[in-house]
């Protein structure tokens, strides 16, 4: 009984390490794949439209509501100290450095990451990826690099959109609803946001884009090797759930790490 549970523990440990190893190797292959020619420009554009354009509405909505809540909440806190003038600074810094990159990444994970994972998982279990291998068409170049590049470009752009819409939302809530002085909102923002803050937000959004594509496509691509995921349709659904959870958690962990390192 005891030996059994020890061996089960050991077995789980081994499969976790093996899984990490495969994901690490996958990351390398994915990055190499981006440098292989010919690049699939039309597929890249399709992914840009799927990840980028397709996410506009949800990003717009999330940003507007987040910005407005920040405006109200910030006003409530700052007003207690008579610091209404700091509202613009508080809202914009929070959005640019934290909430913009993080919430954008979470939205893109839910919308596009899950779709990428399911797509690759289905291609794997129906031998379509084997077929690519057999035709000597590199699946990393063919399937994955367009997704990676599209995400690396569109996620930072979506983040910028998030920031802008969020700050405008904060303006509406603070200035129009709560009666903060418009000049001080703008001025507070202008004087406190530095290039470094914007750089931090941008670096974050690049890293998040890489994480999302790595984890989501990787889980799908490796679905047949993931222990305990089961087989067939169920394995794809299990792995898609895993991908969304893992990629959201890693976004949050890396958010903390990057803030701690770069702030």
């Amino acid at each position: 009984m005891r030996v059994n549970s020890v061996s089960r523990f050991g077995g789980t440990g081994i499969s976790v390490v093996a899984d990490l190893g495969r994901m690490g190797l996958y990351l390398l292959q994915m990055i190499q794949g981006c440098f292989r020619m010919p690049f699939r420009f039309s597929e890249f554009m399709r992914q840009m439209s799927f990840i980028g354009v397709g996410s506009l509405a949800v990003i717009f909505f999330t940003a507007a509501s987040t910005g407005m809540v920040l405006g109200l909440q910030g006003y409530y806190s700052l007003h207690k100290f008579g610091a209404d003038g700091m509202l613009g600074s508080a809202v914009s810094l929070t959005l640019i450095m934290e909430l913009g990159p993080v919430l954008t990444a979470l939205m893109v994970t839910g919308r596009a990451g899950s779709a990428m994972c399911a797509e690759l998982g289905i291609m794997r279990i129906s031998e379509q990826i084997d077929a690519l291998d057999c035709m000597a068409i590199d699946p990393f170049r063919y399937l994955i690099s367009p997704k990676l590049l599209a995400a690396l470009i569109s996620v930072p752009l979506l983040t910028v959109l998030f920031d802008v819409v969020g700050i405008a939302g904060g303006y509406v809530a603070g200035v129009h609803l709560m009666g903060v002085n418009p000049g001080s909102y703008i001025e507070g923002m202008r004087s406190s946001v530095t290039n470094h803050d914007i750089l931090l937000g941008t670096v974050k959004s690049f890293v998040f884009a890489l994480l999302i594509v790595w984890i989501c496509t990787g889980r799908g691509y490796l679905v047949h090797q993931i222990k305990g995921a089961g087989f067939g349709a169920r394995s794809v659904s299990t792995v898609t759930t895993q991908a969304v959870v893992l990629s959201s958690i890693s976004v949050l962990i890396f958010d903390y790490l990057l803030t701690a390192i770069l702030l």
Binding site: I122, M123, S126, E127, Q128, D130, A131, D133, C134, M135, A136, I137, D138, Y142
Partner: protein
């Protein structure tokens, strides 16, 4: 026999089941596939014919032994070299493995688009030509989900033949086709092989018809391969499982030769 395109040396393959026991698929098998000829692999369902083809393509790895393809051992090479070796192959999977988000036309055109520098006009001409041969003309805009089982097979066949490979692997090319279509596919095989001169391996249950194409026959049974240099010879075998196989697949007519 002429030089060999593929050689299996002491190849072992088994799967570990969930309960820890092993299922042996290939038990130290040795055989070679002659270049430019057709080899038919026969054997009951679940004996490991598809697995054998996957070993040749290095989609699965053997536990031990060597599989030599054009002087390279495919069980030990990886990466760029493996990719290069695979350019020699054309493959029809048992389940066709069409790209299900692409139309039939795009599926068949894919190898030409990705692996050659042909113009789109040339590609269109080639693709429509082979779709016509396989009676798929008029269906080129359909997606795999909108095809019948036999049509999928034929589309997969059209795709596999596009690059005029040196070695063709067909996993049950005629399963799910009607007898007329089956006959036409066999004629197509004979024609294209005469044209291109490829080595072909056909896994098939369509016995004895497929024997018309065969130069060599391999019967897979319980992890062992019995190699027959010609389809006729299979009838003279004294092994009980081969006799049984001949009797059930080819019928008594062939047996009567033996009795004489």
């Amino acid at each position: 026999m002429s030089e060999s395109a593929i050689t299996f040396k002491d190849v072992e393959k088994s799967f570990v089941k969930d309960n820890g026991s092993r299922q042996v698929i290939l038990d130290k098998v040795n055989f070679s596939i002659p270049a430019g000829k057709t080899t038919v692999i026969a054997g009951g369902s679940g004996q490991g014919k598809s697995v054998t083809l996957k070993l040749v393509l290095a989609l699965m790895r053997a536990e031990s032994g060597q599989i030599m393809v054009a002087g390279d051992d495919i069980t030990s090479i990886r990466g760029g070299k493996l990719k290069k070796l695979r350019t020699r192959f054309g493959v029809l999977f048992q389940g066709a493995a069409l790209f299900d988000s692409m139309s039939v036309f795009d599926n068949v055109a894919l190898p030409l688009r990705e692996r050659t520098r042909k113009s789109e006009a040339e590609i269109k001409k080639l693709v429509l030509e082979s779709l016509e041969q396989l009676e798929l003309l008029g269906h080129e805009d359909k997606f795999p989900a909108q095809l019948s089982g036999g049509m999928k097979k034929r589309a997969g066949l059209a795709r596999a033949l596009q690059l005029k490979p040196e070695i063709m692997l067909f996993d049950e090319p005629t399963t799910g086709l009607d007898p007329v279509m089956t006959q036409e596919i066999y004629q197509l095989f004979a024609r294209t092989q005469a044209q291109i001169g490829y080595t072909s391996i056909i896994v098939s249950h369509d016995i004895p018809k497929v024997f018309n194409l065969a130069d060599q026959v391999i019967v897979l049974h319980n992890g062992n391969m019995d190699v027959f240099p010609s389809p006729e010879e299979i009838q003279w075998s004294q092994k009980t499982h081969i006799k049984e196989f001949v009797k059930t697949t080819m019928g008594e007519i062939y047996q009567s030769h033996l009795v004489e």
